[in-house]
């Protein structure tokens, strides 16, 4: 019986990483049926349709806690707490990962990779050429200050793909970096605190966002993230701030971390936002299928697989004891993650989708319309809060 694997990955590194899982999983005697619907094309809806259509996949890449609650309502949830404990997984997982795979007190997901949502990746050749040293930046001000030099050299300082979700990610990464964990959790956490919407932190955040927008190049509009990354890889641009899955693109282009490209967190960041990509398993299955699903989970959590997977995808392993080579950037990430206070969880795994989507709408409007003021943005957010959560 085929195990149906639903995911929304389709870039080269993502697929390479999936293939590592697939190899190991198939070596356990199972067949893997792949169903991929890429991000922008409505993968959430597709997954939900498959479930409500009575044709749910056995394994699915999905972080949103709401989805697991819906599954539970339909009697299709597969709680994993017992299995985790029986196999001793929890002790090998960092606290932030454990909390992100837990829904309403029960472990529901299988974590596969860690990403930081906003890392600075820069082209070391370009940095050298224009005489800029990103590692010396201690604040965003420093960073912006060096942009003129880059421009003079005919390069784009900051490569940005101005799509709604990229701007959304940039913003919440900046929120963690500039305004800190408390503000972040008040906006992007499970419980939204309306008080912070109209706060000094929010204004600061919006001001920074405006400065980023002003620094973006002409072709930014609607540019895919990996195309943007390639601007940096090819040396057209100095740097990009984006989720660190962009490392996969660098690796796929044959570049080496620490030699060709450097990675730092957002200069002066108070905290970083962490994405934990995780799989869910379908409940209410035959015994053999249930076993196959658990085998899949075991594959994902296998330390050796974890390391190979992370290398291929450009992510950081979720297991502290993952074996194998860890590149310079992952070391940087692991170093950052050592401080439990210095991290917050990706909004997707916590916050109400409607609210987050409405934030994205406002932020992208703000980004796209230079004449829009912070006040106007805040006003829209406030009214959205009243309508959605109020």
């Amino acid at each position: 019986e085929d195990v149906i694997v639903f995911h929304n990955w389709s870039s080269g590194p993502e697929v390479a990483a999936l293939n590592i899982l697939k190899e190991d999983f198939e070596s356990k005697g199972h067949a893997w049926t792949d169903i991929a619907i890429p991000h922008d094309t409505g993968s959430n809806v597709s997954l939900l349709n498959l479930v409500t259509g009575g044709n749910p996949p056995n394994v699915f890449l999905e972080s949103s806690p709401g989805f697991y609650r819906d599954l539970a309502d339909m009697g299709l949830a597969r709680p994993l707490t017992d299995w985790y404990e029986a196999n001793g997984y929890p002790e090998h997982l960092p606290a932030s990962v454990l909390s992100s795979i837990t829904v309403d007190g029960e472990i529901m997901k299988v974590p596969t990779a860690i990403h930081i949502d906003g890392m600075v990746y820069y082209n070391m050749d370009v940095a050298e050429e224009v005489g800029v040293d990103p590692t010396s930046w201690t604040s965003l001000e420093d960073m912006f200050a060096s942009f003129d030099a880059v421009r003079e050299a005919g390069k784009v300082p900051l490569a940005i793909g101005a799509q709604q979700w990229q701007i959304g990610y940039l913003t919440h990464a900046l929120a963690a970096a500039v305004a800190g964990p408390d503000f972040f959790n008040a906006i992007y956490g499970g419980e939204v605190d309306p008080a912070v919407i109209d706060s000094a932190e929010m204004r600061e955040l919006l001001d920074w966002l405006r400065r980023f927008q002003e620094a973006a190049d002409e072709g930014a509009v609607n540019r895919d993230w990996n195309v943007t990354t390639n601007m940096v890889i090819t040396g057209d641009a100095l740097m990009q701030i984006h989720g660190d899955w962009m490392k996969g693109e660098w690796l796929a282009a044959g570049k080496v971390a620490g030699e060709d490209f450097g990675c730092i967190q957002i200069p002066g960041a108070e905290a970083v936002s962490v994405t934990v990509d995780s799989w869910g398993l379908l409940g209410d299955q035959s015994e053999t299928m249930d076993q196959a699903e658990l085998d899949f989970a075991a594959t994902v959590l296998d330390p050796a697989v974890q390391a190979r997977f992370a290398a291929a995808k450009g992510s950081t392993p979720v297991r502290l004891d993952a074996t194998g080579d860890i590149d310079a950037c992952s070391q940087e990430v692991l170093a950052i993650l050592e401080d439990a206070e210095h991290q917050v969880a990706n909004p997707h795994s916590q916050v109400d989708a409607d609210w987050q989507s409405s934030l994205w709408d406002v932020l992208f409007n703000y980004w796209s319309d230079p004449s829009m003021t912070a006040d106007e943005a805040i006003e829209q957010m406030t009214s959205n809060y009243d309508l959605i959560l109020g």
């Binding site: 409505g42 809806v45 949103s64 709604q164 072709g219 509009v221 609607n222 989708a353 409007n365 009214s383």
Partner: protein
């Protein structure tokens, strides 16, 4: 008395279509209307909170994205309307100048065959300031051309309209050619004999005679405009900001991003109402036209 099969058989044959209409369309529409009064999020939740049954609609009324979408619907409708005009111009020219008729027809029709997923990419490139038309024009000396339509909220809609005209003109052209061909050739002869200028002939005689074709085009156009989604997705994905949202995009966004079925339903119901508002006058017009045609 025997059974009159000539009366019964067609009714039997119509049952599948009737069932489809009643269940898949009418039933579904009522289901959607019902959901629009609930607080359904990812999955249907059939409880209605009567104290605030209209909350989804109230939210719509305040949603800037929704009003943008409505405005864009009008812009798109008016803008794509140019496709009808353009289609008519092409048809009139092809019809007068018979040379190359089949060649031009084929060229103007082909965009219809190609998925927007394909041509959207090409259009995005052409409109991309660093590699597309603008860059090319700059390179050959026109320094001042500004063709960066997709990047600005106030012009992105024009880019979509341009692509939509490109895509659909051929179809209207085909309809118009058919309409022109059905005009009695003696009318043309009479006008030539009278020495009427072509311009006056078209304005005063031919175009009014083709009212019906234009009406058909208008119906098909509004059908396309109301359903417009692919083209927005392919060209701008709604951006920049929410500047190119249209109602159909709004509904999908509410469904997949906001994961709010109730809200999406409310927007869908509004779309339906708009459809009715556009469609009822058109139907009445058509009926009236039909009567007139019958009278002739």
């Amino acid at each position: 008395m025997s059974i009159r099969w000539t009366r019964i058989a067609p009714q039997i044959a119509l049952t599948p279509a009737l069932a489809v209409t009643l269940v898949a369309f009418i039933g579904s529409i009522f289901w959607t209307i019902y959901l629009s009064f609930t607080r359904s999020r990812r999955v249907p939740d059939y409880a209605i909170d009567w104290s605030e049954w209209g909350r989804q609609y109230a939210r719509l009324a305040q949603d800037a994205g929704w009003s943008t979408a409505l405005w864009n619907l009008i812009t798109l409708g008016v803008g794509s309307g140019l496709a009808i005009v353009f289609g008519f111009v092409l048809a009139a020219m092809i019809d007068r100048e018979k040379r190359g008729e089949s060649f031009f027809r084929t060229v103007f029709l082909y965009p219809l065959a190609v998925s927007l997923i394909v041509t959207g990419v090409a259009w995005r490139w052409i409109l991309n300031p660093t590699m597309g038309l603008e860059a090319t024009l700059h390179r050959i000396g026109f320094e001042n051309v500004d063709f960066n339509w997709l990047a600005q909220g106030d012009t992105a809609m024009y880019a979509i309209i341009l692509a939509s005209i490109w895509q659909s003109s051929g179809f209207y052209m085909a309809l118009m050619i058919a309409g022109l061909k059905s005009i009695n050739s003696e009318i043309w002869s009479a006008a030539r004999l009278d020495g009427v200028s072509l311009w006056r002939l078209y304005i005063e005689i031919i175009i009014p005679m083709m009212k019906f074709t234009f009406l058909t085009c208008a119906i098909l156009l509004s059908l396309g405009v109301i359903k417009a989604y692919d083209i927005v997705l392919a060209m701008t994905n709604g951006g920049p900001g929410q500047s190119t949202w249209v109602p159909a995009y709004f509904v999908i966004n509410a469904l997949s991003q906001k994961q709010n079925l109730g809200y999406a339903s409310a927007a869908a119901v509004m779309m339906l109402l708009i459809t009715l508002a556009v469609f009822l006058p058109l139907v009445l017009l058509t009926a009236w036209q039909n009567r007139r045609r019958a009278a002739q």
